[in-house]
């Protein structure tokens, strides 16, 4: 039986093969977790967080969703107005916009029963700032005195704690800033400033696996790559008590797939609807659809570190280019109405606290003849050719870059402007931050907290942490400094806007449009709102 012996060897080889690949399998597929949470539990769209869930380390939406559900900060932002209101803090007071005294409400607890006190905040902030902890959002503590000691620009830190943070008593602590910063209290609702329990330090690995916070919800289970279940936290005493019996966050491989589940009724709430479905969403979901401006502004920046773009006359070229972009028709057709044409460098979510409807003025209106004239007065486009670089791996960047180039080419002649796709977001950002751009490039800003300061200081001051184009203007820096020192908020906003006017004159970055936040929800779901950060306010969602 030749065949039989041959077959035996095949089996033997197969066995070796299985043994070799066995390292890849084992104990993986737990088929638990009912897909559609019944009994008042809301199922919601999610993706795998990209970082650990330490408060100062989360800087993307998936991790942020969880943090906002399981933590209560000193302040929280109203979903409708975007205004900050006190949450864990009883009061935040100052006399000079530089020294702040923060008093906590008494009796607050983490979901494991541990009390929330001044140390919970002071220790968390010191942890977040210390450079050896490698937290992605460390820079948020940069205004606090002593940050340069715990987070020097190079080398090892010379201190473990910031000298500007002092515990006064169990429920009170003081913060001393390195400069006057009148909107500092408004920033304290951001996730980097959340408190952590003692367990965070005593058993860090366990906390990272199963984060414990002081917010509306607590985590009951978290299967990486699949989802997370949250139930209301019985210890929570704030204003945002859960109106449902819990939230099941479900990881989806793509937003298209999640959208199909939403339409089929297997998913209750989905934010960030896929761009390709925005035309259908209204009818597919029979009106259960939200589309509103968000705190995200999309811009294109000039590489002002390149001499060609930084001549005395180049400002006219930059202004002229802004006038060649047909914002209303691109947002309406190419972007399917999920963007709103920009009129300034901030966002409509700020409302009276800094948003302006006519800041850009004539440079925001489509006027090819005038734009072309300005460009010619400014000496024409350097080199005669224009590229707009963008990352091609996500979003609809290719669509609008091509459209923008189209409207520019219409005025300046075909072939003047071309898109320059870069493979991934990672390599695109790498090229931007290492100053390798030669033409225009895509930039965008999602606010950290709803203040006009956040839209201007990090992006356009000389040493701004996200000044990608390296624009520098002493007058602008001075005005922002003055606005930061102003304790009267209306006056502060006016000074910030005065600084913003310099952006109109110099046009280092062309504002394009504000991104809208979109969401859809199921038939038995009620009270879905999006907060200023475009994330659904899960705690207030009701389910029949």
């Amino acid at each position: 039986m030749r065949g039989a012996t041959q077959a035996k060897w095949v089996m033997a080889a197969a066995a070796v093969a299985l043994a070799a690949t066995a390292c890849g399998s084992g104990g993986g597929g737990s088929s638990s977790g009912s897909a559609s949470g019944g009994g008042g539990v809301v199922t919601a769209f999610w993706g795998d967080p990209q970082t650990t869930l330490e408060p100062a380390n989360v800087n993307e939406v998936n991790g942020g969703k969880v943090l906002d559900m399981i933590f209560q900060g000193l302040q929280e932002y109203d979903a409708k107005t975007g205004k900050a209101r006190l949450a864990a803090a009883e009061s935040i007071t100052t006399t000079d916009a530089q020294n702040y005294t923060i008093k906590l409400k008494s009796g607050l607890k983490f979901s494991d029963g541990e009390p929330v006190n001044a140390a919970s905040f002071v220790d968390a902030w010191n942890y977040g700032a210390l450079s050896t902890n490698a937290q992605l959002n460390s820079s948020f503590f940069g205004y606090i005195e002593g940050y340069d000691k715990v987070h020097p620009d190079a080398g090892k830190p010379s201190a473990k704690t910031m000298s500007g943070l002092k515990k006064v008593d169990d429920l009170t602590f003081t913060v001393k800033l390195t400069q006057k910063f009148s909107t500092f209290p408004d920033t304290l609702g951001y996730s980097a400033y959340y408190p952590v329990p003692a367990k965070f330090f005593t058993d860090h690995a366990a906390w990272v696996k199963n984060p414990v916070g002081n917010g509306t919800y607590k985590i009951t289970s978290w299967t990486k790559g699949q989802g997370m279940s949250l139930v209301p936290n019985p210890e929570y005493q704030g204003d945002m008590k859960a109106q449902n019996k819990g939230v099941d966050l479900k990881v989806y491989t793509s937003d298209e797939t999640a959208y199909q589940d939403l339409v089929a009724g297997n998913l209750d709430v989905m934010d960030q609807l896929p761009a390709t479905q925005t035309n259908n969403a209204q009818s597919d979901l029979q009106g259960r659809y939200i589309n509103q401006p968000a705190g995200i502004v999309q811009t294109v920046s000039f590489p002002l570190y390149k001499k060609d773009w930084n001549t005395a006359q180049a400002a006219k070229v930059r202004q002229g280019l802004s006038m060649l972009i047909d914002r209303p028709s691109i947002t309406k057709t190419v972007l399917a109405g999920t963007y709103t044409p920009a009129t300034d460098w901030t966002s409509p979510v700020l409302g009276e606290a800094g948003y302006s409807k006519d800041m850009l003025g004539e440079f925001g209106t489509y006027d090819p003849a005038k734009g072309k004239q300005l460009i010619e007065e400014g000496g024409g486009i350097p080199g005669g050719k224009l590229t707009i670089s963008y990352n091609a791996d996500r979003g609809n960047h290719k669509l609008w870059v091509d459209a923008v180039c189209n409207t520019i080419n219409k005025a300046l002649g075909g072939g003047t402007c071309v898109g320059n796709p870069v493979g991934t977001f990672a390599s695109f950002r790498d090229q931007v931050t290492s100053k390798q751009m030669t033409g225009l490039f895509r930039t965008g800003w999602q606010m950290d907290y709803p203040t006009v300061q956040d839209f201007l200081e990090p992006l356009y001051t000389t040493n701004g942490s996200s000044n990608d184009g390296k624009w520098s203007n002493k007058e602008f820096d001075k005005l922002v400094g003055e606005a930061n020192a102003e304790t009267d908020s209306a006056k502060a906003v006016a000074t910030y806007q005065q600084a913003e006017k310099l952006l109109v004159q110099e046009m280092p970055v062309i504002p394009l449009w504000y991104q809208n936040a979109t969401a859809g929800y199921g038939a038995n779901i009620g009270n879905v709102q999006l907060n200023p950060f475009s994330v659904p306010v899960y705690s207030q969602i009701t389910k029949k």
Binding site: Q6, V10, A12, T253, S254, E256, R429
Partner: protein, 307 residues
């Protein structure tokens, strides 16, 4: 034959080292992954330097590769940026993809060979024409179009099934994704089998078998089909690897958190540990599948022997 198997297994080692090195270099060529972790913000130099040190990204490339390879031998496939060991990622995604891949493989092999045999035996008649037209249509439709269309019709419009697969990927929910994944290969298997069967139908040994007076059933299964399967087996063997690695599109459409999904996420975040780890296992799957195909030749055709 034992020596042959041993030799083939030894040959896998240089192939294995070469492919991992190539993939390592390719992921590296994409650029520095750290900048993306800060989103639209400029990276904090101190934090960036620490993360680089943590993932060995500050070392010269050859040293990174050596360190990575050293890790593999101690069962350490490195960690993803989330701090999760890559081995855990593999442990939860490989079983899922294996299930999907095998489902597709069974569909493709059984339906494909059956269809091919029938149309090969009835060449030129109506059954054959219909089968050929059907496979031509399947081949010309891209997988994602087929996937989205079936998902929309069956899952959303008629609501016969759930549009997405639930977590853990139960077998009954994998039938539609398996069918979509198998579709193109199924068409190829049908066509290969058909041609091979039609050709061998005129071979001397078949004529002899018929002349001997063997029952038709025995002629077809023992003589005709067995010899006609050799090219089909080659195709199926290499396709097994392709089904595992190429499930990306199908996995994304049907929300299956398998190898393709994790690989895609790894590429997007430029996590070399994740990408190299997953591809390494894929390479092993390809190599082993190829070896099995070569050995199966000998079982199917007694004239082929390995020394």
């Amino acid at each position: 034959m034992g020596r042959y198997v041993l030799r083939r297994l030894l040959q896998m080692i240089p192939v294995f080292i070469g492919t991992t090195l190539l993939i390592f270099l390719m992921v590296h060529a994409l650029g520095d992954p750290i900048a993306a972790r800060f989103g639209d913000k400029a990276p904090d130099p101190v934090v960036a330097a620490q993360i680089r040190a943590e993932f060995n990204l500050d070392k010269p490339l050859w040293l990174q590769y050596v360190l990575y390879f050293k890790g593999i031998f101690t069962g350490d496939f490195g960690t993803a940026f989330t701090g999760e060991p890559v081995i855990d990622l593999m442990a939860r995604s490989w079983p899922v993809t294996l299930k999907l891949g095998l489902t597709a493989f069974v569909i493709e092999a059984v339906v494909g060979i059956a269809l091919g045999l029938v149309s090969g035996l009835r060449r030129g008649r109506l059954t054959d024409t219909v089968a050929m037209a059907f496979t031509l249509i399947v081949i010309s439709i891209p997988v994602f179009v087929l996937g989205f269309t079936l998902q929309y019709l069956l899952g959303v419009k008629w609501a016969v099934i759930r549009p997405t697969v639930s977590y853990g990927a139960p077998l009954n929910e994998l039938i539609l994704p398996g069918l979509v994944l198998a579709s193109v290969s199924l068409a190829y298997v049908t066509r290969l089998t058909r041609t091979s069967v039609a050709e061998n139908l005129r071979a001397d040994y078949v004529r002899t078998a018929v002349a001997k007076g063997l029952p038709r059933r025995r002629v077809v299964t023992q003589h005709l089909l067995r010899n006609s399967l050799i090219p089909v087996v080659t195709f199926l063997g290499t396709d097994l690897g392709a089904l595992m690695g190429g499930a990306l599109v199908t996995e994304t459409i049907f929300n299956i958190q398998g190898v393709g999904y994790n690989l895609m996420q790894g590429v997007r975040r430029q996590e070399s540990a994740t990408v190299v780890g997953f591809v390494t296992v894929l390479v092993i799957v390809y190599l082993v599948a190829n070896l099995l195909v070569d050995l199966l030749y000998a079982v199917l055709d007694p004239r082929i022997r390995y020394a």
